[in-house]
Structures are given as C-alpha cells and as structure tokens.
C-alpha cells in the first residue's frame, strides 16, 4: 500500500517516489527527504472548485460544535490563541484560500492534496500564491480526483483511514489537517518533506476528528 496522508495523498499500487536530493537522501522513515520548491502557476480564488472547498469548510464549521473531541483538539497550541472554528470563519469570510495545480520541482505534485503557507523552505515566496492565501488545494490532487492523473491504477488514498479521493471524507480530512497546521495545534508537526511527521499528524487527525469526518453529509 502506498503512502496515505491527508495533506499528502498516496497511490495504492505504486508507492510514491520521493526525489533524491543531491545533498541528503531519504532515511527510510520519511525524514531527510529532499524538499523541492512548490509553485501554483494557475492559482485561482473563484470558480466551481473554490465553491466546493468553501462548502466543505462550512460543513466542518457546522459540525465542530457537535464534536467536542475534535473541537477541543483543534485549538492553537503554545502561547497562541484561537480555535479551528474561528480560523475557518475568517477564511470563509475573507476568501483567504484558493486552488490550482500544485507543482513541485518540474512536475505536477499529485501527492499533495493541499498545503498551507506562502513560502518555500528556501525562504522564497511560492510562485503564483498570493500572500493573502492561507491554503491552496491541488486541482490535480486527491481533493478533486479519485485517481492521480486520471490513471485508474493510481487511486488516491487520504489519511489514516485511506479515504478514497474526491469524497467528502477525504476532503474533510485534508482541510482539518491544513487547519491544524495553520493554527499550530499542539503536537502537530511541520511535515513538508517529512513522511514520518505527516503520518503522525494524520494519526492525530484520525484520533480526534474521525467521528466528525465520517459523520459529515
């Protein structure tokens, strides 16, 4: 079975091939993988995909009060303040998110369902993504598609429960994972280029928010 994470999805038949960095390579646990810059040349904040993202955010927001375990977990950690619900409310009110085809290196990053942030690790701004966009959903990824690149031998699997791509469960798992990054939930780790951290984050999402995710309609 391939890699399966919320922010990063996998293909069940063909394990995700991480590129090998000239300066350090994978350690077998998902650490030390090379980190190539991402870009979103066709970034947009409108259209059917934008409406679909907003719809899932709204469903999560509506469900949070009835899911206290998830709601209590989805809080800013450390000295920071705020809740996931507050974050989602602002995102919806100001349209601070978008979508587009996420590229990494020279190719389409099918394995990235969505990302939060505006800067690559090399401190350069992510090409195509405005500074006011808090997260970006991949038009070519598991949020909107069942298969990677339309190849039926590469079905997307999302999160700990391997939800099929382009399902409400997959979409909710992706957006809750990203919200946790945005508000820095306690214990939620930076996971760009780090499979092990990504898997740990997906376990946390599943442990705390599975009921919400699987209860959405």
């Amino acid at each position: 079975m391939g890699l399966s994470r919320a922010g990063i999805s996998g293909f069940s038949n063909n394990p995700l091939q991480l590129s090998v960095s000239p300066w350090y390579g994978p350690d077998g646990n998902g650490g030390h993988t090379s980190i190539q810059n991402v870009s979103v040349p066709d970034f947009a904040q409108s259209g059917a995909n934008q409406t679909a993202i907003a719809g899932v955010l709204q469903k999560i927001l509506n469900a949070l009060p009835n899911n206290p375990v998830c709601s209590n977990w989805l809080q800013a950690g450390g000295d920071s303040q705020g809740t996931g619900a507050q974050q989602i409310q602002v995102l919806l009110g100001a349209n601070n998110f978008g979508h587009g085809t996420i590229h990494q290196g020279n190719g389409i990053a099918y394995e990235i369902g969505a990302f939060s942030g505006n800067f690559n690790p090399d401190k350069t701004k992510i090409p195509g993504v405005p500074l006011s966009a808090v997260f970006t959903v991949n038009d070519a990824g598991s949020f909107f598609n069942q298969y990677a690149g339309g190849d039926q031998t590469k079905p997307f699997e999302v999160g700990r429960r391997a939800y099929s791509g382009n399902t409400l469960r997959a979409q909710a798992a992706i957006l809750i994972h990203e919200t946790a990054h945005q508000i820095t939930v306690a214990g939620f780790q930076p996971d760009f280029g780090n499979r092990k951290a990504g898997r740990a984050n997906d376990v946390a999402v599943d442990k705390n928010c599975r009921q919400l995710i699987e209860g959405l309609q």
Binding site: R5, G7, I8, V38, A76, S80, Q81, G82, Q86, Q87, V90, L91, G93, A94, N96, I112, G113, A114, F115, S116, G117, N118, F119, N120, P121, K123, I126, P130, L131, S132, V134, E178, H181, Q182, I183, T184, P190, D191, F192, G198
Partner: protein, 146 residues
C-alpha cells in the same frame, strides 16, 4: 416656498458662533504636538496580531490618540491612521492602557504590525512595548506545509 432672509439671519448667527467655539478647539487639538515627555505609560495590555489582518497579510502602523481622565484612565480612543483591519483591535486595546496623568489629558500610541521571518502556521505573535509609546506586534510568514 420662499424663505425670508430675516428668518435665516438668526440661524446664520448661531452657526457662526457655534463654529467659533468648536472649530478653534478642533484646530487647536490638531495642531498641538504631543511630545514624548507628556506620555508616561503606567500599565499596558499586550495585543496579539489580529487574526483577520494576519490571514489577509495586512501590516503597517496604526496611530491612536487617547483622551485621559484625571487619573490617567483612557476615556476615549480614536485612530489617526492605519489599516482598516488593524484599527478596531488597536482602539480596543488602547482603551485598556493606563497612563500617568498629564496636564492636557491626551496621549498618542503607535502600533507597528510586522510580518517577518518564517515559521510554521499563522498564529505566532510577539508583542514588544518600547516606551514611551511604540509597540511592535510581529508575526511571521508561513512556510509551506502539506
């Protein structure tokens, strides 16, 4: 309907008298410099970076004028300049500060919002107060996280 000049005359006189009382006062406040020596903060309340402004990547300075009572409590605060998404939080925060009373009962507060450096997430916020009246509220640019 015709309005007689005689009817309008008393209204004109009242308006002139009112402006003579109000305008010089407003103008005086506008023109008077508030020197740093007059501003003496006794207690302040930290202000986190307002969420909506941070998520919309709004930064910059907000200048707030406060009116004080005889004991240095803020009885009114208003914005002289600043970004729309930052002003309400500053006005609200300024009203919680305490000052040592000064003769004119006024003070200026400057909030300087910055987004600099890189970090994980959007909730990081650091508040630093530099006497007599400048505060910086810093957040950081979010690094990509899938």
């Amino acid at each position: 309907m015709r309005i007689r000049t005689a009817t309008l005359f008393p209204i004109f006189i009242v308006a002139v008298l009112a402006s003579a009382v109000v305008l010089p006062s407003t103008a005086r406040e506008f023109e008077q410099t508030i020197e740093n020596g007059e501003i003496n903060v006794a207690d302040f309340v930290e202000l986190p970076y307002p969420r909506e402004a941070r998520l919309s990547h709004v930064a910059g300075a907000v200048v707030i004028r406060v009116k004080l009572d005889s004991e240095g409590r803020v009885i009114r605060s208003s914005a002289i300049s600043g970004a729309k998404l930052l002003i309400p939080a500053c006005i609200s925060n300024a009203s919680k500060w305490r000052f040592r009373p000064n003769e004119r009962g006024v003070a200026i507060l400057i909030y300087d919002f910055r987004i600099e450096g890189l970090c994980h997430g959007y909730t990081s916020s650091q508040f630093i107060f530099y006497p007599p009246n400048v505060s910086t509220i810093s957040s950081c640019e979010a690094v990509v996280q899938p």
